[in-house]
Assembly symmetry: C2
Homo-oligomer: 376 residues x 2
Amino acid sequence: MLKVGILGGGQLGRMLLQAAVNYPVETHVLENDPECPAAQLCHHFTLGDIRNFDDVYAFGRSLDRLTIEIEDVNIEALKKLASEGIVVVPDPRVLSIIKNKILQKKYYREHHIPTAAFLITQSREEIRNHISFLPAVHKIGEGGYDGKGVQIINNATEIDKGFDAPSVLEKRVLIKKELAVMVAINEKGETAVYPIVEMCFDPSLNLLDFQLCPAQIEEPIALRAAEIALQVVKGLQTPGLFAVEMFLDQNNQLFVNETAPRVHNSGHHSIEAIASSQFDMLWRILLSIPLGSTRLLSPSVMINLVGTGDAGPTLYKGLDEVAATPGLYIHQYGKKLSKPGRKMGHMTLLGPDAKVLQQQVSSLKSKIAVSGESER
Amino acid sequence: MLKVGILGGGQLGRMLLQAAVNYPVETHVLENDPECPAAQLCHHFTLGDIRNFDDVYAFGRSLDRLTIEIEDVNIEALKKLASEGIVVVPDPRVLSIIKNKILQKKYYREHHIPTAAFLITQSREEIRNHISFLPAVHKIGEGGYDGKGVQIINNATEIDKGFDAPSVLEKRVLIKKELAVMVAINEKGETAVYPIVEMCFDPSLNLLDFQLCPAQIEEPIALRAAEIALQVVKGLQTPGLFAVEMFLDQNNQLFVNETAPRVHNSGHHSIEAIASSQFDMLWRILLSIPLGSTRLLSPSVMINLVGTGDAGPTLYKGLDEVAATPGLYIHQYGKKLSKPGRKMGHMTLLGPDAKVLQQQVSSLKSKIAVSGESER
């Protein structure tokens, strides 16, 4: 049996291990929390820091293959492991590009991939040289995550919101829809593109509010989105599972926003709604099994269950009320502590008509809450 | 989080733990093999003998709820645990009935459940008193499993094949089809019946050859089968997940053959083909979550992957060739050793038409083999 390691033990690692149950594979997880969602589902759990060179190197050197469930890992250690023959998916070279928003944007430009116009700024003050470029979005080069490290700067009076560090200043796109396209590519260069999904965000937390599949867009746009996503992924020249996030603007132009080089929140619906889920597909890539089918089994909406209220021991409210809803699949991540904004689970609703599903979201959401139990 | 223990760590336990990933639950497994299929997927693995009173009692006493993945467990320990307030699903009283084929047959008779006519024999010689009852099937009272402990006795010359132990002598039914009906029942007495499945056995090993859902039977027979299965399960007066196996004879009469008080091989297709799989459903029962939907998502065939050839380190052949077949889901149980007749995995094929699926079975089976790798 191949020994495969995962850097990170959050919910993505947890669902990846759930899919691993169908394959003969020895699984290893590195994470700094022995109670993380993935800890008890692997053959070997290693306590350590995925950002620390020594921890990652020591974890990986006895394994056959390695992957990640988060980009914020020690890339130098992965590069050394790759040079010593450990198969790292995706290639750590690609992580270096994607982890830094400046390099990522340059990659799109060099590969003629449509993306919003941008400038590089080294300091906050430098934004003042580009007043005519506003309104724009300032994105910090390194360290942003889940909407942190992103500021909208509409005009000169808002420059103080910018980052005093190397950043991207990106022309604001008039967004009509946000789309995501998952693409799988294996060591032979064979690819599989998933049906396009449409995302809707909560403006306060910038966390995914709900996600619809298939996206409600015209077919030529869907085909163009798939084409662009393939172009992004092929240019990276590494096996892996990628989520390419895009904007569709008011003129029906597509712009790549960013790419995640791993299983991704936008692909959770694939567990039930697609023949080969994103998690199943990554195992096929890791274990050199032919790619699976990305056929849509049913339209779906996916809703994140995000912590609200106080931090504290996790309390799910209302799940029982909806648990018997036909076509509803609830995933709880087993996190012991709920915090405001923390992803605590998700639910996917299947049904014959995407438009009807969309109308059921607010009713479902009104019945359910996750919060920290009061300590009183 | 509730602490739930599973007695047995085979493939059924493995798939049960795979489904547990969606729920907040602390999982415990008792099994005598640290490399069993379920060992690495639970929070706490305990090495011990599920048939030993002390091992089962020690394992269970600190848990909230207990279930089984095999009937051959120490029932006395479960009864003691139940008397001390541990919730055991199903009630160990029911295990006593089902584990003994004599008591099981008597249960059917007492509850007016259609089952083949039978006599009880205490010894092999006693069969001679019932020559006119032949042809019949002799089933040993205790210890039969996967077709062992069952002998067909056509006439007086074959009496030597019978068991010299308390057994059931059952009138042979002229079987047209073998059916299985899964039924879930929770602590409130609410029930959910799964679509009927049809089974086809390999006559040499008496292992399930393939299984088809929905069964190709007329609707009145399906309704009658569901009614009988509900009658069996309600009469047992315990929460649980049950598979009621039946014969349909040449006159379209149904006879209950036997009942499994647990997740069962005949329900593997439910992972992909039914909204709430048998594994998901058992967690709902264990964790007091409303029962799920048993809606059929797609017709399916399920094929067991059984070890052939020599015993030895597991070698799957041909899986790669079929791995990309749309609608095919392959489950490998991660058993390190293959033995002839051992269940090593299964695959489920979904498609719009059950008859067409049936025609694809032999082609799929011809491409795939599991065997022990030669040590040379």
